[in-house]
């Protein structure tokens, strides 16, 4: 028998029982549709993450921390602790400008800048918000690490400019990010007021519950709006106000961003809470990390964490696929049922085919082609269904995201291997489902099948 004969025969047989064929194919369609949508979602999330890592140059970044009590460094949420590789020696040197100079000389290091943050009150027109202001050199704001959605990066390190994060726009009641560019914004910082810090009247000082602090307000011009920042600082809170180091020096501020920083102070010096390093290539991560650890500091590389995340994505994919597999399993029972029914209906036809010379193998193949036709149809329709459903879900989610002022986000990804694999898998499942019916059809005894009743 020729392949075209098998295909023609199976489709004409399926066509004879349209409703039953439709229902069985629909079962496979739902199963494959679920599989495609679920795996597509998993792959989409993974792709998004990898792409955002790559676009922010995160695989090239390394953060250095001074050795010491690291637990508090990442805030207060025990689940939020990143895998900081602590220096085994402990109690290491201070992370200061001298250390930065040493790190800058290491091979593979492209740029180094310290993590400086201070709390400040941000005022724009009537709105005010309390934020951690982060100091970022001009050259970093023009690198891949900072993604600007509007405006431009700092031109110099001493300009009185500020870059705002998109997350700050809403609290400051800014509707259009373009409208804020060029506008003045006030940054009020807290600093020690040494004039009030007179030991003579410290008693009255404490009685009045007055703290030796003063608040100073500085004016900045909004130069850019940032949508993403590509490094993890010492705090789990992302900073959404950036200023260049030159103007930061002029601001009177507290020398620490976090009360825990004070515990690390040694010999009266604080040093930086963290230092961000950009490397020439992800390959340099391990060697630079080792050298910095030898200097007595702790390090954190996102690339290490990314591998962990990737593993958890594999688990997520497996979970999603397992859910879809239940639907496919049910669909395969439908195929078996349809095929067995078909044998009972065509019992005498099978007998006739055997009487005119069909071999067991011919009959088996006829039934295998029929079940795989169901799989092929179900797989193709399932692919279309999964794709269509994912489009709808994506639209709905993005509709609500847009309401929150967030940009469009693609949640699904359908690589070619997934599309082809889904159809191939549907055919495979239907072939497996067809094994028992095909075997049974081949064993039909023509004498019994042809016996006239």
């Amino acid at each position: 028998m020729k392949i075209s004969d098998y295909i023609g025969l199976s489709f004409s047989n399926l066509w004879k029982r349209k409703l039953r064929t439709f229902l069985t194919v629909f079962g496979v369609t739902v199963g494959i549709g679920a599989l495609v949508a679920m795996v597509g979602f998993g792959k989409g999330m993974q792709k998004n993450m990898t792409e955002s890592f790559e676009s922010l140059d995160l695989f090239n970044s390394l953060t250095v921390f001074p050795a010491g009590p690291a637990a508090q460094r990442f805030g207060f949420d025990p689940d939020d602790q990143a895998p900081v590789e602590k220096n085994p020696r402990g109690g290491g040197p201070i992370l200061d400008d001298e250390a930065i100079k040493k790190i800058e000389k290491l091979e593979g290091v492209r740029s180094v800048f310290p993590e400086i943050r201070f709390p400040a009150l941000i005022k724009f027109k009537d709105a005010e918000e309390l934020r951690l202001v982060q100091v970022i050199p001009a050259k970093i704001t023009s690198s891949k690490l900072i993604k600007l959605s509007h405006g431009k990066p700092f031109a110099r390190d001493d300009e009185d400019s500020v870059i705002l994060g998109t997350s700050l726009l809403r609290p400051l009641k800014i509707q259009d990010p373009l409208s804020v560019l060029g506008q003045k914004i006030e940054v009020a910082s807290i600093a020690f007021d040494f004039s009030r810090f007179n030991p003579m009247n410290i008693a009255s000082f404490l009685q009045e519950r007055q703290l030796p602090f003063k608040k100073t307000t500085y004016e900045f011009t909004v130069i850019g709006v940032m949508s993403a920042i590509g490094f993890q600082g010492a705090s789990p809170l992302p900073s959404d106000v950036l200023i260049p180091p030159g103007s930061a020096e002029r601001i009177e501020k507290l020398p620490f961003a976090n009360i825990w920083d004070l515990f690390r102070a040694r010999e009266g010096r604080l040093g930086y809470s963290a230092v961000n390093i950009r490397l020439s290539s992800p390959r340099d991560v391990d060697s630079v990390k080792r050298e910095i650890q030898d200097m007595g500091f702790s390090t954190f590389a996102l690339v290490d964490q990314f591998n962990q995340i990737r593993t958890s994505f594999i688990y997520m994919d497996m979970m999603l696929a397992a859910v879809a597999m239940i639907a496919i399993f049910v669909a395969s029972l439908g195929i078996i049922n349809t095929m067995v029914m078909s044998i009972l209906e065509r019992y005498s036809e099978i007998g006739i085919m055997k009487a005119v010379g069909a071999s067991d193998r011919d009959i088996q193949k006829i039934f295998f082609f029929e079940s795989s036709s169901i799989g092929f149809l179900g797989g193709t329709c399932g692919l279309a269904l999964g794709w269509a459903v994912s489009r709808i879900i994506n639209r709905v989610i993005n509709f609500f995201l847009a309401k929150q002022g967030l940009p469009f986000f693609e949640y699904f990804s359908f690589p070619l291997w997934l599309c082809l694999g889904a159809v191939a898998f549907a055919i495979l499942v239907s072939l497996v489902s067809g094994i028992y019916p095909a075997y049974r059809a081949a064993r039909v005894d023509p004498v019994i099948a042809l016996r006239h009743d």
Binding site: E349, A355, V356, P446, L450
Partner: protein
């Protein structure tokens, strides 16, 4: 006997086991059938004539004994070899015609060619030629339900002979037909036998009718050959 034997059976036995009961359908049948003869196998129902035909047609296997057709021992063939034998070695027709009801006359006639790997174009051509030969070309696109009993049996004959076998096995082919149509069908079989030297084995319980056309009659009773007679 001067002519060459085409079918030979030796001590052929067939026992059906249904639950605890064993039914001996055929007992020690040893028969020779010469090439080009028209043999009628007669007997009461349950005498084993259909069983014999199914064994000769390769649809069933004997419990013991040997069947040789054209020198090949079909009783020792594998299932695959038997399928090939049914495809090319014999043609069979039945009382209930056994056409596939969802297929047209020409599609039914084509069916054996599908399994014989014949190209689609050639299949249609050969099937139409066969239908023309049995006088049914104008009705080639009709389904079995749109054909009379006699027409259906002629379609079945066309199908049985499309792969040009040397033997035609007919199992009560006139059982569902009126006497005039029965006669027409038997005449057709006799013509095939005479014109093309086709060996015809006809199973029928209508002994008188069979005798009119057959050259030889074999009577079975309780699974044994009761008598064998040359009519002409």
């Amino acid at each position: 006997m001067d002519s060459k034997k085409i079918i030979a059976t030796n001590q052929l036995c067939k026992i059906y086991s249904t639950g605890r009961v064993q039914v001996e359908a055929l007992k020690d049948i040893s028969l020779d059938i010469d090439q080009g003869t028209f043999v009628a196998v007669a007997g009461a129902s349950g005498s084993g004539k259909s069983t014999l035909l199914n064994l000769l047609g390769g649809l069933d296997r004997p419990t013991s004994g040997v069947i040789e057709v054209e020198g090949k021992k079909i009783s020792e063939m594998t299932r695959e070899e038997l399928a090939l034998y049914r495809r090319f070695g014999v043609g069979m027709i039945f009382q209930s015609f056994n056409l596939i009801s969802s297929r047209t006359a020409v599609e039914n006639v084509e069916l054996p060619l599908v399994f014989a790997d014949v190209l689609k174009r050639d299949r249609r051509q050969r099937a139409e030629k066969m239908l023309d030969w049995v006088g049914l070309l104008p009705r080639r696109r009709h389904r079995p339900s749109e054909l009379s009993g006699g027409e259906q049996q002629r379609v079945a004959i066309a199908r049985a002979l499309i792969n040009e076998p040397k033997i035609l096995l007919a199992d009560e082919p006139t059982g569902n037909l009126d006497s005039r149509t029965s006669r027409e069908i038997l005449q057709l079989l006799a013509a095939l036998n005479q014109a093309q030297g086709l060996t015809v084995v006809l199973v029928s319980h209508e002994v008188a009718l069979a005798r009119e056309f057959a050259g030889e009659t074999i009577e079975l009773r309780d699974g044994r050959v009761e008598s064998r007679e040359r009519v002409r």
